[in-house]
Symmetry: C2
Subunit: 315 residues, 2 copies
Amino acid sequence: MESFGPAQLVLTASIARRYYVDGRSKVEIADEFRLSRFKVARLLDQARSSGLVRIEISHPGAIDLELSVQLQEALGLRRAIVVDTPEVDEPALRTQLGKAAADLLSEIVTAEDVLGLAWARAVTAMTEQLTTLAPVPVVQLTGALTRPDVEANSVELVRHTARLSGGPAYLFYAPLVVPDAATARALRQQPEVAEAISHFDSVSKAVVGLGSWAAGQSTLYDAMDEKACEQLEKRGVVADISGVFVDADGEPVQSRVTDRVIAINAEQMDKIDEVIAIPYGLAKVAAVRAAVRSGLVNGIVTHAPLAKALLNETN
Amino acid sequence: MESFGPAQLVLTASIARRYYVDGRSKVEIADEFRLSRFKVARLLDQARSSGLVRIEISHPGAIDLELSVQLQEALGLRRAIVVDTPEVDEPALRTQLGKAAADLLSEIVTAEDVLGLAWARAVTAMTEQLTTLAPVPVVQLTGALTRPDVEANSVELVRHTARLSGGPAYLFYAPLVVPDAATARALRQQPEVAEAISHFDSVSKAVVGLGSWAAGQSTLYDAMDEKACEQLEKRGVVADISGVFVDADGEPVQSRVTDRVIAINAEQMDKIDEVIAIPYGLAKVAAVRAAVRSGLVNGIVTHAPLAKALLNETN
DNA sequence: AGCCTCCCCGCTCATATGAGCACCATCGGA
DNA sequence: TCCGATGGTGCTCATATGAGCGGGGAGGCT
């Protein structure tokens, strides 16, 4: 069965060519070669199972489709886009991912959607690459974190996107995290904040940030007091999804710290149909896995090395 | 039409994977992805036409299937085997081609066949590589040419093959070319020669030599007197197929020289169902083309460079 | 030889598939 | 505003295809 003569081999190749390349039907091929269509079918089966015909899925672009599909299926994601880019410096990488995410967003957002945007550098990178967007309401999902290295803040991000889209913007000026729960409560009652929050339930698609709960791996971590960080770490927090903390099992972690965050909460995020994150860097493997396990994040735009790491470690 | 969003792209890739790699049906895929089967079909069409799925035919062996099929179709051959071997020295090449031809012969010769063998170095190389053969009569098609560089002659070649096969051998001792027609006539009436010739009509498969009509490109040319060579050349002879001379259009050339050759003639060869030649070397391009055009030769075992040359020059 | 087993072949019939068509939404121009 | 063009969708129906079956030939064993 495993060894064929050369005539058989060439015949099979010939038929495979006719079938796959020329796209003729098996009946036609059978007539041409004076074989029964069953024989043709068997030869084609044989050709495939013996590896004589190899089918590759690829395309001339930045997206590694093979990896994308694998990642999507392995993690059970609604969407996965893997950008095939050599490991360049972080800003360039963010731009690349931002472009891919922007393309994705333009494509999947329709006029019926309500778009939610959280604060994250990757999300900023995305909005910078965004050129067209259906006219939809854009809702700010988190308070702003002002960092010296980022000029745009959460507010600008939302405003810019809404302007591009032509839809209304629901935005507010407030920090992402405040020193105590009472302040947070007060802020949440501010009219603009309250209005934005009131729209959380109608958000149908969102782009969020995704941080690994460690120094330098989450802007929120870096912005928070050490005590709070440690407390959350002790509770098993592995990832923060734009202010929603989850542990390695994907369970949202409640804590006093949670109350100090001005952002969408786990329950609200869970109701959003599509939540897309744009993680990069191998340090985020565990965070991504946790976020996906939580079910909160169901779409990912990332780069090849992280995608491969996610696939490899998937036990 | 030519630009898709990444989501579309990944969806298409996903479907292509399911269809081509996993082998699921379009209906199943449609159910899985909540699409109509028509949509799935259209996406798959799109994927193929846009080059997203690429189908390659290859295999881990010495035979270049792609080239073989192309050659077969371009020249309208019954069989074409192209051995993919780096341009090595001639004897090694002959061995390689001999092996391929031997495999081919073992495969296609059945007990109902009658095998004809002409004299040629390549045919000798083939018989040396032959290990199994259905029990068939083996008929010597040409007289022998004794050359200092070849130990086996036409007779040995036939005897060896017949022994391997287990069938009867029809062989004779006579030179391939004699000084005059009268001698040839006399030789043809010798009992063994006459008997072999009487079997020419029943030969169903034959392996022949193929020479380009020029010095060093045909053992027959080299063995003949200069005058005869020139005369044939003047008549437009481009190739000799084991003693049958053909011009560039593939027309057999009759001449007084023809009568001096002890070998199968054009008419008899034309009746043979499969006639296989084993040409090699780029100098033989024109000869191969003539031989194929004549319709006398309908199977070829060769190497990649010659195959490519034949394909390129095919206007 | 006689028997058995395996394998190869081509059949039937249910199902999958493709070609062509009609419908509908969208969009640009009169 | 209306109209025609356009493209995308899913239908029908004829055709292609796959699963499973039985016949028969080749080869091995007793």
